[in-house]
């Protein structure tokens, strides 16, 4: 019985509501944090930073934002990509209009803009539900991307219509633009993501979290026990879009370096949705698991034939890749429709009773 919960009694409600009521979980988290903050940055290659570490964190954050809306508050959104775009463009405008601005502050402020836009497109959710609501978010998706293309002021009238991240420094260190080192960017992203994760955990386990979950599970009953649905849904849209916007700003500023409008088009929304769902709706941990899987899978699949020395053309690899990702999505949904986070919980439950079958 490696994973014993028996014997860990809680003597106060406070202790019971601590983040990690089970000691083993806390230890595990500690190990992960050490890895993330110390081991990985020391050992990772440039390639690993650019194709795994940084994108995993950013995607996980975006998925977390989406998860608040879809997983916790039950409002399906297919517009995540566009909301990320709002964050990115807002950040771009801020740092180009006010070059003295601290980039981290700009990134965190960028979220405010996408929160505003999110709330505006969230208003229909008061009347429209389920898949029908997806239309409101799709309207946001397509309209915003169109706007990114047409509103030249947004990209400073660049001939190419794309935004190009300027070199920005913080305390003498380049943090964005081509001059920035990957490690710096990684730490910055990690810092923001850690902070956001903490806030999201607190929000989702507290009162607001319960309000959202109630709205998700049965909105009529929620209203009848005293929940103001409008407030509940709109806060979900606001906070979700905020997080997504921050992720979007980092997506461009800390990772891509440049972005054309159609980067924020629907495939990005789907990518984030995959992560949230495969990871597990209604779970914070799941976003990270999902991001590792969805970001890591193509990278791994691309490396695999080389590593095995199988001579297939890159195009076939890519086709196989798409095929395998599709198949794996189905596979994971079948194994555990509630996502990797639930799978992990199940393994935990099994570990608790181990070595007995139930």
């Amino acid at each position: 019985m490696l994973y014993r919960t028996a014997g860990q009694f809680k003597t106060s409600y406070q202790a019971d509501q601590a983040l990690f009521p089970v000691r083993q979980d806390a230890i595990l988290l500690g190990v992960i944090l050490i890895f993330a903050w110390v081991v990985l940055p020391m050992t990772a290659s440039e390639f690993a930073f650019q194709t795994m570490l940084i994108p995993v964190l950013i995607y996980a954050l975006a998925a977390m934002g989406l998860n608040i809306l879809t997983g916790y508050a039950g409002q399906l959104s297919l517009g995540t990509g566009a909301f990320m775009g709002v964050g990115a463009y807002a950040c771009y405008k801020m740092v180009t209009l006010m070059p003295w601005m601290n980039p981290v502050v700009a990134i965190l402020l960028a979220g405010v803009f996408s929160a505003g836009v999110g709330v505006a497109f969230g208003i229909p959710s008061l009347r429209i539900k389920g898949f029908y609501l997806a239309i409101a978010t799709l309207a946001a998706q397509f309209f915003l991307v169109w706007l990114f293309e047409k509103w030249a002021w947004l990209y400073n009238y660049n001939a190419s219509g794309a935004i190009q991240v300027p070199n920005l420094d913080m305390f003498g260190l380049w943090v964005s633009g081509p001059q920035a080192a990957s490690v710096t960017q990684y730490y910055l992203v990690l810092g923001v993501v850690t902070l956001m994760t903490l806030l999201c955990i607190n929000l989702t386990r507290g009162n607001l979290g319960r309000t959202w979950k109630a709205t998700r599970d049965m909105d009529i009953a929620a209203e009848l026990i005293g929940i103001n649905l409008m407030k509940s849904k709109l806060t979900a849209f606001a906070i979700s879009s905020y997080v997504v916007g921050v992720a979007g700003a980092m997506y461009v500023f800390m990772w891509k370096g440049a972005a054309e409008p159609n980067v924020f088009d629907i495939p990005l929304s789907f990518q984030v949705l995959f992560i949230a769902i495969i990871g597990g709706l209604g779970s914070i941990l799941g976003n990270f698991l999902g991001a590792i899987l969805i970001v890591g899978l193509p990278v791994a699949l691309n490396l695999l034939p080389n590593a095995l020395g199988i001579p297939i053309s890159s195009a076939t690899v890519e086709h196989l890749n798409v095929m395998i990702v599709g198949a794996l999505i189905i596979f994971f949904l079948i194994i555990e429709p509630h996502g990797l986070a639930r799978l992990w919980a199940l393994i935990r439950e099994k570990l608790i009773v181990w070595p007995f079958p139930y």
């Binding site: 229909p124 898949f131 239309i135 949904l333």
Partner: protein
């Protein structure tokens, strides 16, 4: 400004009525094509509350199979039959591999699974057929390709015979589907399934049979759509994006309604074209067709949350 928005477009319309007619016709034809994709969605949604995102790729897949089989030497109509067999196999596979293990899962999970199917089919299709743009075997299938030219009001109106054929075929297809759903035992079972899986199972409705059937019909619709679109623009994976256009059509018409799919499709097809030509291009820099349909659907939903013809959402405690 006010003049540009409220007066000028209408003045333009009156000034060149033949052009307006052409715009309406083009809108109508795209509308029918949107509606055809939406039909496939509706059918599957009705029977399983699955929001089948893969309908778009099924269109491409069906069209590619047809062209591919023909290229491999099969005569056109045999190729059509063989394509239908392929679509049937696809339906059976989807039911076996994806739907059966996911019975009773939340809608969004199934939605996700259909996106999985989409990706799979894209990869699979590209391996088999390659990514090149292919020419639809329009003539071989005996579809007329000429055009009808009219001169109303002394102007010019060109109707492609192909488009006219599409409109007729679509109309027939819709009538057949409506009759099937409303007047047959299977039709009722399909609707029952959509309401409550478990209960449907308990009265002996076989999910397997119905799902295979429904996906197969959706496959047939996909083939028809594929031929129609392919004849206009060639067949390649780029066609897949038109699937997005079916989404607002569905929302506008109501997810469960065949009539809704048709009316929604026509409305969106015509209105987006008219808006783009008379407002979008002169005033907004064009390309409003990317979002117009969605915004229109959104506005309609604000007044009717279940779409124009959707089933009323039952809210009781």
């Amino acid at each position: 400004m006010i003049y540009d928005v409220f007066v000028a477009p209408f003045a333009d319309m009156i000034e060149a009525p033949d052009f307006l007619m052409q715009v309406l016709w083009e809108g109508l034809v795209s509308g029918i094509l949107y509606a055809l994709i939406a039909l496939g969605f509706v059918l599957i949604y009705r029977s399983s509350r699955i929001f089948n995102f893969a309908q778009g790729i099924m269109v491409v897949f069906a069209a590619l199979t047809l062209v591919g089989l023909h290229a491999a030497g099969l005569p056109a109509w045999i190729a059509v039959a063989a394509t239908l067999v392929v679509m049937f196999v696809l339906a059976v596979t989807v039911e076996r591999v994806v739907l059966r293990p996911l019975v009773g899962q939340p809608d969004i999970i199934l939605f996700m699974a259909t996106i999985g199917i989409t990706l799979f089919l894209i990869g699979f299709g590209e391996i088999i057929f390659g990514g090149e743009n292919k020419v639809m075997i329009t003539e071989e299938l005996g579809i007329p390709t000429g055009d009808f030219v009219f001169e109303p009001f002394g102007g010019l109106l060109i109707l492609q015979q192909l488009d006219v054929t599409v409109v007729i075929v679509a109309a027939l297809l819709v009538c057949a589907l409506l009759a099937f759903l409303n007047f047959t035992r299977m039709g009722r079972a399909i609707r029952a399934l959509g309401d409550d899986h478990q209960a449907a199972l308990s009265v002996g409705i076989s999910l397997q049979t119905i799902w295979v059937l429904v996906w197969f019909i959706a496959g047939i619709i996909a083939l028809v759509t594929g031929i129609a679109w392919g004849a206009r623009a060639g067949v390649s994976f780029a066609l897949e994006v038109i699937a997005y256009k079916a989404l607002p059509v569905l929302m506008l018409g109501g997810l469960e309604s065949i009539t809704g799919a048709i009316v929604g499709g026509l409305m969106i097809g015509v209105l987006e074209k008219v808006f783009e030509i008379y407002w979008g291009q002169p005033l907004l820099g064009g390309n409003t067709e990317t979002w117009f349909a969605f915004v229109l659907a959104l506005i309609v939903l604000l007044f009717r949350p279940q779409g124009l013809f959707g089933e009323r959402i039952i809210e009781r405690v």
